[in-house]
Every structure is written in structure tokens, then in C-alpha cells.
Symmetry: C2
Subunit: 297 residues, 2 copies
């Protein structure tokens, strides 16, 4: 299969659904809705929603069963970027080459736009239209899973430990692994697991999908750490070497570059292994796993 | 009925359920969980969860059907207070006589504790145990309703317009009404409506409960505006007259004190009128409506 075309086509489906799902630019209050849309449509790769659609299809579902939850996932990812960029947090002025949300709309609106995007995700997943299509009994566990992976025992927890570790000497592997599996890994795992649930997976199939999601979630972040060292500023859309400059807890910092690459590849192998029961329909998930460690941006 | 005892007893039920529902102080990462608990257990009156339990019972349900959603509502209310108090927003150092969350834990943890509380609310409402008790088909519409009332077309929208109006001259009644019905009213209406849905209300009964919720939501905020003028600093736990000092958009500022009192009383009458079909079981809701405009704190 041609992964590049596949990703492009899926991105377009997700973008179109996000366009329909978000409050309009002209809806009152205008400022917060403009701020929400500014960051949602800022050129993200839509990797989480694409994973959710692909997992849904891999277990025999149709993509429309996962599309609203996939958009919700992208809203949660976007809110986390807006809040992470705030002066009180990572204090970033640029993301993907554009000024960050608070640089354009001010801190107060950026905080509120993030809050509203997180809330909107749950509004979208609990809509009567979606319940009629995918069924109450599948949607409620998906909301629960996504909530846990986004909250203080998931992504938010990872951000807390990441901030608290910044600049500290002697961060150990267990801490780096905690940060990575929570801050980035949790939403990627949740994307795959939610897609599988919405596609009808249970028991062994759901467990295998969860293993796949966990493995690629960690591999993705290790690959990110490696890119920060080896990529050019142009490729990665932020200053190369910025992790090291900030004293960020990364895999290369605790286990070296060569071992980090080896670990990322092992995780991709584990992910592919987990997919062995799924046959042809899981081919996009396999290609995404390979892409995650070979990408240049 | 003895409202004071009723509120005290209901508060205790909600506090005990919140205690069980929130991640523990010792759960990792400790800082964010301590911050979440600090603000949830800061002496709030639990008016929203108590309303939800009372609405559930008024339509014939048992309080346990509403208790998790009632705790979720208090978490959402608490997250909104933490974020509203931030330096970039209202910049408050004290709330209910205690230092605000960011004064104790720092801005970054305060932002994240707010994010996590909002997320936790949806985790709690979507738990498998709750679904087994109250039924998927009732919980999903409740999540949807609470989400809409909390998001950019509800509470967050109200906070946006409130901030954007601060210090402006010639704020009109329509703007003040927008702020009040969204910033405070939306969650109070959602509390009543959610309680009614969880108790099994449909059609006319649900519509009547919604009218009650809307009326007391607005009455509550008008009463708050009046208290800010007439209450003592000790009674209201913040500087008396602070709304005027900040140039806040309030009812007394646009329609005067006497007309504001009249409007609050009219809304209470409307609320009581809406409850007329409900008989004895709605007595707590009636007492709460009367209390809302007569309270001194």
C-alpha cells in the first residue's frame, strides 16, 4: 500500500469532520471559537485520529463508527498542546512554524480555548446522533478509556512529571519511561483501543490491539527524542537539539542514541507481532508502525 | 422541612462520594492530585450536586442514581474556579478565605489540576459501575448536557464575555444576562436537568425541571451581585464591593439594586411555578429556590 496517499486521504476525512464538528468561527463568543479553530487547523498530522480509524477497520468496523471519537481525540491532543505551550508551562512562542495560541489570542483566551476543546471532545462523543450510530454500550467505555488516558493518571500526569523533571540531573530510565508512556503514549494507546472497541473488538482481539497501541505510543516518543537530535530545524518545525538545551528527560539522554534506536525498533517489532492475528485489514496499522520510527518530521 | 439540616446532610453525602471518587493524595504524580483535592475540599457549599440529587428525587428517582454525576458536576465547578483565579484571568489570591490553587501549587500545576478535574468528571460519569446502575441510555444524554453547559457555548463562553466586558463602559442588560446565564446559570441548569434525566424524567416533567433550573441559575447570580454590594467581607469570603471596583458587568450596575432584587424574586416565583406539578418530593427544590435569594453568603 501507498502510506503517503493513505495518510493524505485519511487526514482529509478527519479535517472535514473536524470542520463540521467544531463551533463556527462566527459563533458567540467569537474570540474563543477562533482560538479553538486556529490550533485545531494548524497543520497537525492527525496521527491519533488516523490510528483510531485504522484500528476500527482492522477489527472489521467501518470508519464512520470511529470518526466522531477520532475528532474528539484530535481536540484533546490540540488542547494539550495549547496548554503545554503557555508561559507557565513550556513557554513556547512557536509550534509547527506558527505563533502559539497564547501569542495570538492572549493567555486567558488560550487557557479557555484549551478548556473548551477538552469539553467539546466529550460533547462530540456523547451526541445522540453518534449514540444512534455506534451504540451507547460501545461509546460509554470509549469515553471512559479516553478520559483515563487524558487525565491525571495519563497524559496530564506525564506532563506533570515531565515539567518536574526538567533540568534535573540523574533522571533514571523509569522516570523517562513514565513520562513517555503517559505524556504521549497514553493518547496513542487510547486511540487504537477506542478504534478497536468501536469496531467491535473484545477479549483477545482487544488485548492485542492494546499491546499494539502501547508499543507504537512509546516508539513514537523515542523516535521524537531521536529526531530532536538528528533532524534539522526545518524538518521538525522547532529548534533541533532543544530537548538537550532545556535539560528534558529523553531516551537518548539516559540510554544513548544507539540503544534508543534499538529500543524503538524492538517496539515496532512488538507492535507488528501483536497484529499477526489480523490479516490484510491491519495493513495500514503495520505501515504506520514502520513509518513512526522512519519518519523525518 | 429544615433546609439547614438537609443541606448539611446532603453536603456530607457528596463530600464522602468525592473523597472516594478522586485519585488519592498519594497517587502519582502526587503534586497534581494534592492540588486537585486542595480545591475540591475547600469548603464549597455543594449547591450544584445537592440540586442534582434533589431534582433526581423530585421526579421519583433515588439519590444514588445521580451521585456520581453530582460529584462530576462539583469537579467541573471546581476546575472552573481554579482556572478563573489564575493570574492571566481574574488574578485572585484568595478564595473562601484560603490562598487560591496557583498561590499554593504554582501556575503550571494549577492549570493541570484544573484540566485533570474536568477530565475526571467525564471519567467518573462514564465508569462501567455507574453505567450498570443508571443505564447507558440515561448517562450518555447527561454527559452531553453537562458538556454543552460547561463548554464554549456555556460556562466557558460566559467567562470569555465576562472577561472581555470587564472595565468597559455601557455594558447593556443583554450582555450581563448572557454572562450570568452562561457563566453561572448553565451549570446550575445542567445540574437540575441531569438530575431529572437520571431520575427518569421525560417530556413535560423534564421541560418543567429545565425551566426551574434556568430560573434559579439566573436568580443565584443576581443574588450574588446583590451580596457583593450588601454583604460584609466576612460573610462573602472576598472583598465586599469588589465587582464594582473591578468594573464587572452586574445586574445592579445596569438596572439598579431595587430592580435587581425584584428580578431575583420574580425568577424564584417562576421557579416555584415550574415545580407545581411535582408535589411533596419537590419540597427541597422549593426551599433551595427561596434560600438562593435570601442567603447571606
Amino acid at each position: 500500500m501507498d502510506l503517503k496517499n493513505y495518510l493524505k486521504e485519511r487526514c482529509a476525512i478527519v479535517d472535514e469532520a473536524l470542520e463540521r464538528s467544531l463551533p463556527g468561527e462566527g459563533d458567540l463568543p467569537v474570540s474563543v471559537h477562533r482560538a479553538m479553530r486556529y490550533s485545531v487547523f494548524a497543520g497537525g498530522k492527525r496521527i491519533r485520529p488516523v490510528l483510531m480509524l485504522a484500528a476500527c477497520e482492522a477489527v472489521g468496523g467501518t470508519p464512520d463508527l470511529a470518526l466522531p471519537a477520532a475528532c474528539a481525540m484530535e481536540m484533546i491532543h490540540t488542547y494539550s498542546l495549547i496548554h503545554d505551550d503557555l508561559p507557565a508551562m513550556d513557554d513556547d512562542d512557536f509550534r509547527r512554524g506558527r505563533p502559539t495560541n497564547h501569542k495570538v489570542f492572549g493567555e486567558a483566551i488560550a487557557i479557555l480555548a484549551g478548556d473548551a476543546l477538552l469539553t467539546e471532545a466529550f460533547i462530540l462523543m456523547s451526541s445522540p446522533e453518534y449514540a444512534a450510530k455506534a451504540g451507547h454500550a460501545r461509546i460509554l467505555p470509549v469515553i471512559h478509556e479516553i478520559g483515563i488516558c487524558a487525565g491525571s493518571r495519563g497524559m496530564v500526569g506525564g506532563q506533570v512529571v515531565d515539567m518536574e523533571s526538567e533540568g534535573k540531573k540523574d533522571i533514571d530510565l523509569a522516570t523517562v519511561q513514565y513520562i513517555h508512556t503517559h505524556k504521549t503514549g497514553a493518547l496513542m494507546k487510547a486511540s487504537v483501543k477506542a478504534g478497536a472497541i468501536l469496531g467491535g473488538a473484545e477479549g483477545d482481539a482487544l488485548a492485542a490491539m492494546t499491546r499494539y497501541g502501547e508499543a507504537i505510543g512509546l516508539a513514537f516518543q523515542i523516535a521524537d527524542d531521536i529526531l530532536d537530535i538528528e533532524g534539522t530545524t526545518e524538518q521538525i518545525g522547532k529548534d533541533a537539539g532543544s530537548d538537550e538545551a532545556r535539560g528534558k528527560a529523553t531516551y537518548p539522554a539516559v540510554m544513548g542514541l544507539a540503544d534508543s534506536k534499538r529500543r524503538a525498533q524492538e517496539l515496532v517489532d512488538l507492535a507488528l507481532e501483536a497484529l499477526s492475528p489480523f490479516g490484510e485489514k491491519a495493513e495500514p496499522l503495520r505501515e504506520i508502525a514502520r513509518y513512526i520510527v522512519s519518519r523525518k518530521s
